[in-house]
Structures are given as structure tokens and as C-alpha cells.
């Protein structure tokens, strides 16, 4: 059983839901990302999602665009993100998922990325600009190496595509909460809970929801409908604002606050 599967199974047994925080690797530098990752794992994160910086992140809003930009400015690229994952893996068994756009992975080589990721202890990849139609070669390379190709479903997908995505995905299905790009939102779509209920009836695999989720209250409201909740931009905003020990403590406290409503009541 993979780390991702084991995590969702363990949480389910306990009646808990997974907290999946996202930060961009190398924002503002690799040592900070490493410190943040370990702190988040310590304070209640169940899976970690690390962003691979890219010059043209077209599924991301300003917060993660700027994070990507900061990381690129210090020269962080895929190889370094993989090595960072390896360092984090030496300290914790938390599942590590990389989120990155297709071109850097394609240039590094699909098989090479998958094999190196496996070697460094990475558990899965989310590639937001690689829809099911184009994912064949990557999925094959990832499965052969033993890392999970994780697919997304969106409010526009419709039942047939959601079912297909659930069949092809490994680890969990990532449901995009909004018709739009990433970024903390004050209010989530009114019909999100109904949509998640519908998705639940279509898929058997673990289901996580992400995009726009930024407060413990939102997490609490969504928890009953899913197996995991992804929070990204709200954490990245803190990375942009704070530094050093203050940043690590603030992010740790935020993770604890986000995780609280996901624990068994």
C-alpha cells in the first residue's frame, strides 16, 4: 500500500479528514520550504503538496504566481524540488505530492521525473495543465515508477468525465471547488456542497477539494463531504508576509487551526 492510500485509510478508521496544505517550493528559498514542510507535518498536515515553480502558471491566481516568481528568482527548478523532497523524506513519512505544470516535467523527461521522484520519496504528482486526454504517457511513466498520477475534476466536468478521472487517478481525486483559478476566497460557490455530494455518488476513491479554501470555518463546512481539504494561497500569503521563525510559527499555528475541524468530534 502506498503512503497516500495508507494515510487516507488510517484517517478514515479514526473518522478524521485529511488536511493537505500547499506551498511553493523555493519560496522564498529552499531552506525555508524545508522548515515549513516539517513544521506543517508536525502540526497537523496529513499530506504535503509542494509546488514546482514555473514561469507561466496559468491555473494560478496572483498569490501563487508571485510565489512561483520569487522561487524562480532564486533559481529553483525541478531537480532542486526533487532533492528538497528527498531531504523532507528523511525526516518524516508524510505523503509528499508535487504540483507542477507539464513543460518542466516534459523537459526533464517523463520517466526520469517519475523515477527520480520515486527515489526521493515523492508519492504523487498533480499536473494542472495535463487533462485526461493528454495524460497517457505521463500516467504510464508514473505508474511504472510507483508514483501516483493524481487527476483533477472541475465544476464544468460533468458526470462522465468525473467518473473517468476517478478511474484513472491514483491516491485521490482532486476536485476543483470553483470555476476559476487558485486563490483565497471569502466565499465559496453556494452550490459547492451539493456538487461534492453529487461527486461522492460518482467516485469510490478518496476525494479532496481545493482552490479558494482559506479559513478553518470553510474547512469545517466542507469536511463532511470529502476525505481531504487542500489549502494553498492562504498559507502562501503568510509566506509572502512573514520571515524566519515568526513565519514558521505562524504557519504552524494556522495548520493546527485548519486541522482542528477535521479531527473526530
Amino acid at each position: 500500500m502506498t503512503r497516500i492510500e495508507a494515510t487516507f485509510r488510517r484517517l478514515k478508521k479514526r473518522g478524521e479528514k485529511a488536511l493537505i496544505p500547499f506551498i511553493t517550493a523555493g519560496d522564498p528559498d529552499l531552506p525555508t520550504t524545508r522548515a515549513l514542510a516539517l513544521e506543517m507535518a508536525e502540526r497537523g498536515a496529513d499530506l504535503l503538496e509542494l509546488g514546482i515553480p514555473f514561469s507561466d502558471p496559468l491555473a494560478d491566481g496572483p498569490t501563487i504566481q508571485e510565489a512561483s516568481c520569487r522561487a524562480l528568482k532564486v533559481g529553483v527548478h525541478l531537480q532542486e524540488v526533487l532533492e528538497l523532497a528527498g531531504q523532507i523524506r528523511q525526516k518524516t513519512e508524510i505523503p509528499l505530492v508535487l504540483m507542477g505544470y507539464y513543460n518542466p516535467i516534459l523537459q526533464y523527461g517523463l520517466e526520469r521525473t517519475a523515477l527520480e521522484a520515486k527515489r526521493q520519496g515523492v508519492d504523487g504528482f498533480i499536473i494542472p495543465d495535463l487533462p485526461l486526454e493528454e495524460a497517457g504517457p505521463w500516467r504510464q511513466a508514473a505508474l511504472a515508477a510507483g508514483v501516483a498520477p493524481i487527476f483533477l475534476a472541475a465544476p464544468t466536468s460533468g458526470a462522465a468525465r468525473i467518473k473517468k478521472a476517478a478511474k484513472l487517478t491514483k491516491g485521490f481525486l482532486y476536485y476543483v471547488s470553483v470555476t476559476g483559478i487558485t486563490g483565497a476566497r471569502q466565499a465559496l460557490p453556494a452550490d459547492l456542497e451539493a456538487a461534492l455530494k453529487e461527486v461522492r455518488t460518482l467516485v469510490k476513491c478518496p476525494l479532496a477539494v481545493g482552490f479558494g479554501i482559506s479559513t478553518p470555518e470553510q474547512v469545517e463546512n466542507l469536511a463532511p463531504y470529502v476525505d481531504g481539504v487542500v489549502v494553498g494561497s492562504a498559507i502562501v500569503q503568510r509566506v509572502a508576509r512573514l520571515q524566519g521563525l515568526e513565519l514558521v510559527k505562524e504557519v504552524g499555528d494556522f495548520i493546527a487551526a485548519l486541522k482542528a475541524p477535521l479531527r473526530k468530534k
Binding site: 514555473f54 514561469s55 507561466d56 496559468l58 491555473a59 491566481g61 504566481q65 516568481c69 524562480l72 527548478h77 525541478l78 531537480q79 507539464y102 513543460n103 518542466p104 516535467i105 516534459l106 523537459q107 526533464y108 494542472p128 495543465d129 495535463l130 487533462p131 485526461l132 486526454e133 493528454e134 487527476f151 483533477l152 475534476a153 472541475a154 465544476p155 464544468t156 466536468s157 460533468g158 468525465r161 478521472a165 476543483v176 470555476t179 476559476g180 483559478i181
Partner: protein, 397 residues
């Protein structure tokens, strides 16, 4: 006929977009295949092209340019005489009418030189559609007149400050807008790039250029040309000219922007000096660093200032169906002067690249040979940039 059913031209093309957009692309492809076959729609497009755009545009025998070059007979396809001053309107009109048929009440577009933005805003005004145009701040600075035109036409111009603040970044923002508003918005992509079905749709709407040129030349001379020349940024005017000649023994030459020179690191020569990868939804040649990050393109001509290119051009390059060359900013300015002085036509800086390359191409042809060059746009929008570069004063002496 390419693309295949996966939207591929050989290995190039495809649909590398967020899942949110996939249903919209599938819907667009289905709608386009259905609507573009509808005789009523075809009549509608043809009527607007004739009475509104002013087509057919002339195929002009450029006697003085021919003499100046001293070789083959040069014919100029006058897309600069189309309404709004460039070929872009052929595509925006088609897509605007398509959007209306698809009940999308809002259209958005990216623009570099501003020509595609103006053409989109024009069609939006004509058809009563809400219209937002994304444009990089650097291009807004360079192409002020087109910004004013778009605003006068009732469009909202949204400035884009990310990345290099040019066309690539405007396209990122347009795609982000489309992801967010996809249910009621049609994205009028301006070139033969982007995810399938855009390269096919834009090519089909631009193919009128080559169809007309072929018929016009046959009428005037009874012959086929030996060679076609057009500038290539994303590649829509070139593909529009080439397409009707695909099965004919006619040489295709696409001219990219070499900016400050191919070895300077400041150029937009995607096909000549780039490598393969994925940008803006398609697998094609592009400018990138070894880690797959997209590099900024550079050209004096804002419409060529793009680090990607349409996938069908990539396919043409690999199969040898077309050849691609690049000319520098400096050479393009020489082309600009040449056409202005010999024929009294001020070309757009983009089109001036194609004209400039004629000087390299002409010596290889005889006096009986015919070359058609696509004059994709007129130069009015570039007067400030050209006067600065050529140090031509507008002051009283």
C-alpha cells in the same frame, strides 16, 4: 486533412489545459464542426467579409519593388487594406459570429500589437457583444493608438503586469479569465496557436487570404506562384496564405523576428532557434530555458514578440513543407523603408519582416518567377516606434 481527431499535427498541437476548460474546448470543437458546415453561417461570414471587411483584398503587382529587387515578380497580398488595417479581422469576425451562434454573450482576447485586440473590439461592437481585451503594459506603452481605438470601440482594455508584460502574459491572463467565466464567455484566440481546436479554427478563417490570392493570380497570370512569404509570430497570416496552396508545388517561407540577432538572446525566432515543449495548451516549438521555463521573446514588432508558434508551423518545419528564416529589427526597418519608398505603402513592422526577407530571397529567383508576399497589416500603429528607430522627426523645421 490535419489535425487528426486528437487535435494533432504530427506530434504537435493537443490540448494541454486545466480540466475546467476541457469541456469548453470539446463544446467549441463540436459547435465549430456543426456551425461551420451550415450554409446559412457560411453565407453570413461571406457577406460580412465582403461588405464589412472589404474583401477580397487586392493582390497587387508591385512593379517598383520588383524593379528594385531586380529578380522575380513580386505580388503583394494587401491584407493591410482590410477593415481595421490587418488580417486579424478575418478570424475575429468568424469567431464573433461563432460565439453568437453558441450564445456566448461576452468575448475576450489577448493582444500584442493591438491589431487582434482592435479587430476583436470591432466585431464586438458590430455584434453587440461585451468585450474585454488583455494587453501587456509594455505593449500598451508601445501601441497607445490601438489602446485608444479599442476603448473607443467600447472594449475594456485590461493591462497585464506579470512576466515580460507582453503577448505571452496577456495570453496567460486571458486563459485565466476564460477558466473563470467559461460558461458565458468565448475566448477569441488571435493566432493559430493555443489548444485544439483553435489552431484549426483560426487557420480556417484565415485561409481566405490564400484562396483569394490563388484565384487572383490565376486570373491575372494563369499561373501558380513559385514562392509565398509571410511573417510568423504565432503564424496566422502565414498559415492563412499558405493553406490554399498546401497541395501545390509552391515553396512556403515563414519569416520570424531575429530581434537584436539570433545569438543575442533577444529574439522571437521560435522555429529557427527554439526547442519543443508545451506552452498555452499546445505542444510546439518555443523559447525556453533548460528547465522548461518559458523565455521572454524580443522584437521591435509587438505582433511577433511571442515565445511560441502555432503547432501546424512546427509540423511544416519538421516535414520540410515550409522553411523558416529570421530577420533582425534592423533588417525589418530596411524592409519598412524599402516598401514605403518604392510602393508608397507603409507596412506594419511585423509585415516589414517578410518584405525584408525578399531581399535575401529575390536573387535566387529568375525574372519569370512569381513571389507573393503577405502584407499582413499597415504601419500606422508603428509610426512612433519607427520614427524613434529611424530618427524621423515630426517637428517643424
Amino acid at each position: 486533412m490535419l489535425p487528426d481527431r486528437h487535435g494533432r499535427y504530427g506530434p504537435y498541437g493537443g490540448q494541454f489545459v486545466p480540466e475546467t476548460l476541457m469541456p469548453a474546448l470539446l463544446e467549441l470543437e463540436e459547435a465549430y464542426r456543426r456551425i461551420s458546415r451550415d450554409p446559412e453561417f457560411r453565407r453570413e461570414v461571406a457577406w460580412y467579409l465582403k461588405d464589412y471587411v472589404g474583401r477580397p483584398t487586392p493582390l497587387y503587382f508591385a512593379r517598383h519593388l520588383t524593379e528594385a529587387l531586380g529578380g522575380p515578380q513580386i505580388y503583394i497580398k494587401r491584407e493591410d487594406l482590410a477593415h481595421t488595417g490587418a488580417h486579424k479581422i478575418n478570424n475575429t469576425l468568424g469567431q464573433g459570429l461563432l460565439a453568437r451562434r453558441m450564445n456566448k454573450r461576452r468575448i475576450i482576447a489577448e493582444t500584442g500589437a493591438g491589431q487582434h485586440g482592435v479587430a476583436t473590439a470591432t466585431v464586438a461592437a458590430l455584434l453587440g457583444q461585451e468585450c474585454d481585451i488583455y494587453m501587456g503594459t509594455e505593449d500598451i506603452r508601445r501601441q497607445r493608438l490601438n489602446v485608444i481605438r479599442m476603448r473607443l470601440l467600447g472594449a475594456k482594455v485590461i493591462s497585464v503586469e506579470s512576466g515580460s508584460c507582453t503577448l505571452k502574459d496577456a495570453m496567460n491572463e486571458a486563459i485565466r479569465d476564460w477558466v473563470t467565466n467559461v460558461r458565458h464567455t468565448h475566448y477569441v484566440l488571435g493566432s493559430v496557436g493555443g489548444p485544439h481546436p483553435y489552431p484549426m479554427i483560426v487557420r480556417d478563417f484565415q485561409a481566405v487570404i490564400g484562396k483569394e490570392a490563388k484565384a487572383q493570380l490565376r486570373r491575372d497570370t494563369g499561373r501558380l506562384p513559385q514562392c509565398l512569404v509571410a511573417c510568423v509570430g504565432g503564424g496566422s497570416n502565414a498559415m492563412g496564405l499558405f493553406h490554399a496552396f498546401y497541395n501545390d508545388p509552391v515553396r512556403f517561407v515563414g519569416v520570424e523576428a531575429a530581434g537584436h540577432g539570433l545569438t543575442s538572446g533577444y529574439h522571437s525566432a521560435t522555429l529557427v532557434a527554439g526547442s519543443k515543449g508545451v506552452l498555452h495548451g499546445a505542444f510546439s516549438y518555443l523559447l525556453q530555458d533548460p528547465w522548461g521555463n518559458i523565455q521572454e521573446a524580443h522584437s521591435l514588432a509587438p505582433g511577433l514578440d511571442y515565445p511560441g508558434v502555432g503547432p501546424e508551423h512546427s509540423f511544416f518545419k519538421d516535414t520540410g513543407r515550409a522553411e523558416y528564416a529570421a530577420v533582425t529589427d534592423k533588417e525589418a526597418l530596411e524592409g519598412f523603408k524599402l516598401l514605403s519608398r518604392t510602393e508608397g505603402i507603409l507596412p506594419a513592422l511585423e509585415s516589414a519582416h517578410a518584405v525584408a526577407y525578399l531581399q535575401k530571397l529575390a536573387p535566387r529567383y529568375g525574372k519569370d518567377d512569381i513571389i507573393i508576399v503577405n502584407l499582413s497589416g499597415r504601419g500606422d500603429k508603428d509610426m512612433e516606434a519607427v520614427s524613434e528607430a529611424l530618427e524621423v522627426s515630426g517637428d517643424a523645421h
